[in-house]
């Protein structure tokens, strides 16, 4: 099929629990996407990972049909798991809620390398470390 692309966007959603409410409705509704069909398919595909945030990269075509692929969890999700904490800091810059090692940062950077659009592992690690600090997670070692 000659699928001419209209837009590509990514939604970071709770696995298995997406609903037509925003951000799904607000992101897809204006493009005329069958929202219920998206949430149903997304929830089916991610049911096994409930508890994680699984991004869906959605490609919307000119005729308002669409397709999507699942991406690696956001850096924040992987950092929370690595640090063994439930949630990051409520406000950035004050509390320290946990820590990760330099090696863990590089491991997460490796996992996410393809999705981060970073030039190399070094640049990806910088993104992960910055996100960690913003969440109140110290990077050690």
């Amino acid at each position: 099929m000659a699928k001419k692309i209209r837009i590509v966007l990514t939604l970071q959603l709770p696995a298995g629990k997406a609903t037509p409410a925003p951000p799904v409705g607000t992101a897809l509704g204006p493009h005329g996407i069958n929202i219920v069909e998206f949430t149903k398919t997304y929830n089916e595909k991610t049911a096994a990972q409930a508890g994680s945030i699984i991004p869906a990269q959605i490609t919307i075509f000119e005729d308002r049909s669409f397709t999507f692929v699942l991406k690696t969890p956001p850096a924040a999700d992987l950092l929370r798991k690595a640090a063994g904490i439930e949630s990051g800091a409520k406000t950035t810059g004050k509390e320290v809620v946990g820590s990760v090692t330099q090696a863990q940062v590089r491991e997460i950077a490796q996992t996410k390398l393809a999705d981060l659009n970073a030039v190399d592992l070094e640049a990806a690690a910088k993104i992960i470390a910055g996100t960690a600090r913003s969440m109140g997670i110290e990077v050690r070692g």
């Binding site: 099929m1 000659a2 699928k3 001419k4 692309i5 837009i7 590509v8 966007l9 990514t10 939604l11 970071q12 959603l13 709770p14 997406a18 609903t19 037509p20 409410a21 925003p22 951000p23 799904v24 409705g25 607000t26 992101a27 897809l28 509704g29 493009h31 005329g32 996407i33 069958n34 929202i35 219920v36 069909e37 998206f38 398919t41 945030i53 490609t59 075509f61 000119e62 005729d63 308002r64 049909s65 397709t67 956001p74 850096a75 924040a76 990051g88 409520k90 406000t91 950035t92 810059g93 659009n117 970073a118 910088k126 993104i127 992960i128 910055g130 996100t131 600090r133 913003s134 969440m135």
Partner: protein, 304 residues
């Protein structure tokens, strides 16, 4: 808010703290390959959006202020600059139904009418009404390549070659073309698509049009064991039409017809050349915008 691509992970984490449903990230994609593919444009920022309930304005303002404070710290963590957080109110809608407004009843060609299943349509005499529920699969009648095919099938109907015909729809998508052929009296239409979602959509749409007994669908591509066919529908892309030209010709009985669409105008010569080498003859060419469809025949005397 706009964010340098480097800051997207951190910004979306901060916004997700106050947005229970999740966040949306629009990376700056640039279309390549005639709009058929997209790649990230590293030179432009991404846009991160988050939605929080506005029923309690005080709580919402507090959440926004807290997010703003956190965002203010980001540059201290070695991430490239980010834009300003902008806030606007979005009205609550029935999101599960709002998208339907984008699908009107569409008239294609002289008598084909595409009716989304939730809409009513008062038909005129001679109308061929396709009931369609747009889903993930391609083919809603909104794309020129689909419209060119529907008009082509209508012309075949006028020639009298659809009624009683055995047809195959290669890359059936939503099943729209198979259904059009079925409504014009084709005896059987087999839809094939490499995408299982398309196969499901075709079968569901066939049922909606009471054509379940005459339209079948399965995952796959050419060649298929059921051939040769009187009619072949192939709304694909130029490169695939070239690659499959031999199989498309073989799927036609001598004297059978092929409707090939999804051809970007620059690629038309390649497709025509491939069809010619496969022994096919182009009878008619139609175009809309940058898209071309070819009405092709396997000559009656062709016995190869």
């Amino acid at each position: 808010m706009e964010a340098d691509q480097e800051a997207v992970e951190a910004v979306s984490e901060i916004l997700a703290r106050v947005a229970p449903g999740g966040v949306s990230v629009e990376m700056p994609f640039r279309l390549v390959a005639e709009g058929l593919a997209a790649e990230v444009d590293a030179s432009r920022p991404a846009i991160v959006r988050a939605y929080l309930p506005g029923r309690d304005p005080v709580a919402a303002d507090a959440a926004i202020a807290s997010a703003r404070r956190s965002l203010g710290h980001l540059q201290a963590f070695g991430l490239r600059p980010i834009g300003e957080l902008s806030v606007s109110a979005v009205h609550e809608e029935d999101w599960a139904a709002a998208w339907k407004a984008h699908f009107p009843v569409l008239r294609v060609g002289r008598r084909m009418v595409i009716r989304p299943t939730w809409r009513r349509h008062r038909s005129r005499p001679g109308d061929v009404v396709l009931a369609l529920d747009p889903g993930m699969a391609f083919g809603t009648g909104l794309h020129p390549t689909t419209r060119l095919c529907l008009a082509g099938i209508e012309r075949w109907g006028d020639e009298g070659i659809v009624a009683g015909a055995r047809a195959i729809d290669v890359g059936c998508g939503s099943g729209i073309l198979a259904i059009a052929a079925g409504l014009l009296g084709a005896e059987s239409v087999l839809g094939v698509d490499t995408d299982p979602i398309a196969v499901e959509a075709t079968l569901a749409n066939a049922r909606r049009n009471r054509l379940a007994r005459r339209i079948g669908a399965r995952t796959g591509s050419l060649p298929v064991a059921e051939g040769p066919f009187d009619l072949v529908l192939a709304n694909l892309i130029a490169s695939l039409l070239v690659d499959l030209s031999g199989e498309l010709a073989a799927a036609l009985r001598p004297g059978g017809r092929l409707l090939a669409s999804g051809i970007f105008i620059d690629r038309e010569p390649e497709v025509v050349a491939a069809f010619r080498s496969a022994g096919l003859v182009v009878r008619e060419r139609t175009a809309e915008g940058d898209w071309v469809a070819l009405d092709v025949e396997r000559p009656a005397g062709d016995r190869r």
